[in-house]
Symmetry: C2
Subunit: 403 residues, 2 copies
């Protein structure tokens, strides 16, 4: 069902990164569910994690190990989130790290754990332990695509992207993979993203680059900074190309490529939204400030009535207007608000645009990709968020996920 989304055909290897995937049988049968990513010594890492108060055990441990030093491995399992598992979950996450680190003769802090899947079930650490020898022996620079497949849960398409960036002293590579598909309210799905580059970047600027890229991508497909118990987005810079960022122009080029890659991954998650049949951009302009633009955009993007109308290809613009009206803006002058579906103006002067014809709205709504543009007439801020529709299949998928 994914909207305009295909599996990546190739993903570029990143010097200094090796990956391996295997079927550990943690929950799924007959498919890979465990990934190890190994980074050469000297790799710098940055991370952005969920703000959910009930953050999962692996998130707590990953944060802790990232702060403790310079990790060398990421261990990722699908099928079990190791969330809501209390003290036992923490112990399981730590033990997984220790087992992986022991194979390389390192301390547990050298490993960052990530989990996605069902909440509240104990993690099968024994299954992970049994899989480790195969996982180690399979490490390869070409393992990106297999890893993208292994981290999937309700995803229907593996998600990955690569970029080459010409900097002043040479070309560096960026490759990333992501998973996530529960997109009616993205804060409820686990979104994991793992990006690496062979550029040489120190930890502090790396963290800044990652945060900026997340703000323009994964934080534009989520609400109010809400995130699931397990969300994490990681960026590693191995430095293996020997090429650093020399000047502001290099930095701009690198940031632009990173932002575009992360946006592509974020859009892929929306396009693969559970039950999605439409890819919808909500653009809010002429807002007084960014929070206001986002408040309106998210209210529209999360409205089940708007989302079911999108699913039905029904230009029920009244539902869009009602969502704008209840998004909490102080002193909104409804007569200044204009709304378009792609190039078709549907709202002006507090009501339906006089020239609007139902067939024009239907023509736009029949498309797979739709832009809902709302101009508030209050200021200069403009933001975009991305979402999908609400279909029968969303309910089916989420009613049947565990059973």
């Amino acid at each position: 069902m994914a909207v305009g989304l295909e599996a990546p055909k190739t993903l570029l290897p990143v010097a200094g990164v090796r990956l391996s995937s295997t079927a550990a049988g943690i929950r799924y049968q007959g498919r890979d569910d465990l990934v190890l990513m190994a980074f050469e010594a000297g790799t710098r890492m940055a991370g952005v994690f969920t703000r959910n108060a009930f953050c999962a055990a692996p998130v707590l441990v990953a944060r802790e190990h990232l702060a403790a030093g310079q990790p060398r491995y990421w261990l990722i399992n699908s099928g079990n989130a190791n969330a809501g598992t209390g003290a036992q979950g923490l112990s399981d996450a730590r033990r997984s790290c220790a087992l992986v680190a022991a194979q390389a003769g390192l301390a547990a802090e050298a490993v960052l754990p990530f989990s996605t899947g069902v909440i509240g079930e104990p993690l099968a650490v024994d299954a992970i332990e049994r899989a480790l020898p195969a996982l180690y022996s399979g490490l390869s620079a070409d393992g990106w695509l297999a890893a993208a497949r292994a981290i999937m849960t309700t995803d229907t398409v593996p998600k990955g992207a690569s970029r080459e960036v010409a900097l002043s002293s040479g070309t560096v590579t960026l490759t990333g993979i992501a998973k996530g598909a529960g997109m009616i309210r993205p804060d409820m799905a686990t979104m994991l993203a793992f990006v690496a580059t062979d550029a040489r970047i120190e930890q502090a600027p790396l963290q800044g680059l990652l945060q900026a890229a997340v703000d323009g991508s994964f934080n534009r497909i989520t609400v109010d900074g809400d995130t699931s118990t397990n969300d994490a987005c990681m960026l590693a810079a191995t430095g293996a190309s020997g090429i650093g960022i020399q000047d502001p122009e290099d930095e701009a080029r690198f940031a632009e490529a990173l932002n575009a890659l992360m946006r592509e991954l974020a859009h892929a998650i929306v396009r693969d939204g559970e039950g999605a049949t439409k890819f919808v951009t909500i653009e809010v302009g002429e807002a007084a400030d960014t929070p206001e633009a986002l408040a309106v955009a998210y209210t529209v993007a999360h409205s089940p009535l708007v989302k079911t109308a999108l699913f039905a290809s029904d230009p029920n613009w009244g539902r869009i207007l009602a969502a704008v009206g209840r998004s909490g803006l102080a002193d909104l002058d409804v007569n200044a608000v204009r709304i378009w579906l792609d190039d078709v103006q549907i709202v002006r002067d507090g009501g339906r645009a006089p020239e609007y014809r139902e067939e024009d709205g239907q023509r736009v709504m029949a498309r797979e990709e739709i832009l809902v543009r709302i101009e508030l007439g209050r200021g200069m801020a403009r933001e975009r968020v991305w979402t999908c529709d609400l279909s029968h299949d969303y309910v089916r998928i989420n009613a049947e996920y565990r059973t």
Copy 2:
């Protein structure tokens, strides 16, 4: 599909109130869609209206006429919300009032208009005009049940309730009807409620009684005070019983009956929620204050993942826990949080309660009526909100409503 909800068998007449319903053909065919309620001279009225910035034309006019004097009529149509209709909509609402008032030799301000149905279509005032003679001639004290049917849109069951209240100087009657069924996020459905009593109460205390009752009923099935473009809840006191409220004890008795009646109507809306198969109470206790208790309750109540799990009768308590975790509480100590499904404890010490067994959770989730109780361990505030599950039928109903 309504959960444990039957049409009221009888509704008590209220002295001083006459009602009439007719098929005006505004949108629906072969059913009543227009209601007139007539109140005797001296009736006091109070109203609570939507806070949506795009409030509908009838809401603007009803507010204006209520402020202007002592209205004598409520005119209610279903099938068309007269919302998002700009200047024409205002003009149509005013003209409807003038037409009704003219039949009684009164000014337009004597009539309050209410509309529910599709947004953005022009109101068929001519159809209303043609129906007025029949509407007038049909006015009767026994018209409550027919009116409850005529104001329905996607409702499957008419909603109404009556109470008799013994006050120190005699017994007064309370009868109310309501409509509304779009309940996954109640702020998006039009909820209309019309309540009358033959008690003698002045306008200021009447407004206070209504506001308090709304806060404990319709505002507990809605989020953050969000409301649709058309929501309105009206309370009329005809005084025709000659019985007033003499003392604080009378006032407490009357308020208790009014609150119970409004809660019954609000629950009926949830029980008839679009596609609902479960009636769910979310209780949040040990909160630091009321806003915090409501924030947690609404986050859980609106989570599509929780709602689809309820539909599937799946005790996926991790989704409840994740919703609590992202509800925005500062410094939430997750280890202090406990969660129950009815009498079955599912969460303690930051994870699944050790004694919890899946079959116990399934036993509760199989019920039609479920209490989700969350204790935060932060204070003394406690609130309840009511919601329903998210089913296939919700999507079907809302994808097909206009088409």
